[in-house]
């Protein structure tokens, strides 16, 4: 899923300065699963905004709406009868949400309430960890299901580096060295020889380095 964190309240309040009619829009996709932008979090943020408004003597109108997804036009469309009633739309979806909203409703002001962080999964309740960097050319099959692009601090394809110690990365004791894990797994499975094969420099044009990306499936395009 796409993982995100709510922006600090001070930043959100600063963005909303001068707006009195606010629509907080959640998304039932990834941000619901990582507990940052679903209907529950929308309710919490709306309540916080109302408290802040009352404290500052402002008569804020804060309403809530959670869409199935904010990354599909048919769901974004469902706001069409509402947007004119608000000065600002605060999206709690990933970075895709506020952009789809502002593309569909160019007259409205659409702002993000979250910082979109990475593609990852829940390693325990309340803890998410990065697993994919969306580089556009998956190499996980070479590394026994572990991605050094996303999980090595240097994205090394021929690791580990000298910064690996006791299974941890030199950047932090909280960061596992993925190359340590790859080597251990290869040893356990008797396939350490796989790592003798030199991995040439990666072609990063399929990643962000190639510019904004687009995926077209001709069989689906109407």
């Amino acid at each position: 899923m796409i993982v995100a964190d709510r922006k600090p309240l001070k930043e959100i309040l600063e963005m909303l300065k001068g707006y009195n009619r606010i629509l907080v829009v959640g998304c039932k996709g990834c941000v619901s699963v990582c507990n940052v932008g679903g209907s529950k979090e929308v309710g919490i943020l709306a309540s916080i905004l109302k408290i802040a408004g009352k404290k500052n003597g402002l008569n804020l109108k804060v309403d809530e709406k959670t869409l199935e997804r904010q990354c599909d036009p048919e769901y974004v469309e469902l706001l069409k009868d509402m947007v004119d009633d608000y000065d600002v739309i605060l999206s709690m979806a990933c970075g895709v949400g506020p952009q789809f909203l502002s593309e569909r409703y160019p007259e409205s002001r659409c702002l993000p309430a979250v910082n979109t962080t990475f593609f990852g999964g829940a390693v325990q309740h309340g803890v998410w960890s990065e697993r994919c960097a969306g580089c556009g050319t998956c190499v996980i099959h070479f590394f026994d299901g572990m991605c050094p692009i996303a999980r090595c601090s240097k994205s090394l394809l021929n690791g580990p580096c000298g910064g690996s110690a006791d299974g941890k990365c030199e950047i932090s004791k909280d960061v596992d060295c993925i190359w340590d894990m790859i080597v251990r797994k290869k040893m356990e499975q008797g396939r350490l020889d796989d790592l003798l094969k030199f991995m040439p420099a990666k072609d990063w044009t399929t990643a962000r380095d190639g510019g904004p990306r687009k995926s077209v499936r001709e069989e689906l395009v109407q």
């Binding site: 600090p8 919490i44 309540s47 916080i48 109302k50 408290i51 802040a52 404290k55 003597g57």
Partner: protein, 110 residues
């Protein structure tokens, strides 16, 4: 025991303090409560294993929110006591009321 405690404390009963949600605490503040506290069972003695520990974390979350809004985090609190401690329940109610009186009315009501 018929123990007296301040009449301005309004009690909302829940099956377990683990039922108390962040939104319940925020809505109380939003609707004008000068303070809110959760009275849960003693730590380690939750009948539902960890309800009171969950409530504690939610109270901490709301305290942080209040701080970020430049409101006093002391307006929200978690207390732990057993169901058999009537006198302590009354004492906590008095303590909390005194604390809130010291802080004054909530700026949300201004």
């Amino acid at each position: 025991m018929r123990l007296p405690y301040p009449s301005n404390v309004k009690i909302i009963q829940v099956p377990c303090s683990g039922r108390v949600d962040i939104l319940h605490l925020l809505r109380a503040i939003e609707d004008g409560a000068d303070g809110v506290y959760v009275a849960g069972c003693l730590e380690g003695e939750c009948h539902y294993i960890s309800g009171n520990l969950k409530a504690k974390k939610r109270v901490q979350y709301v305290k942080k929110v209040l701080e970020e809004l430049d409101l006093e985090p002391e307006r929200v609190e978690m207390f732990n006591l057993s169901a058999g401690e009537g006198p302590r329940f009354a004492q906590i109610a008095r303590e909390m009321v005194e604390r809130i009186k010291g802080l004054g009315p909530s700026p949300v009501n201004a």
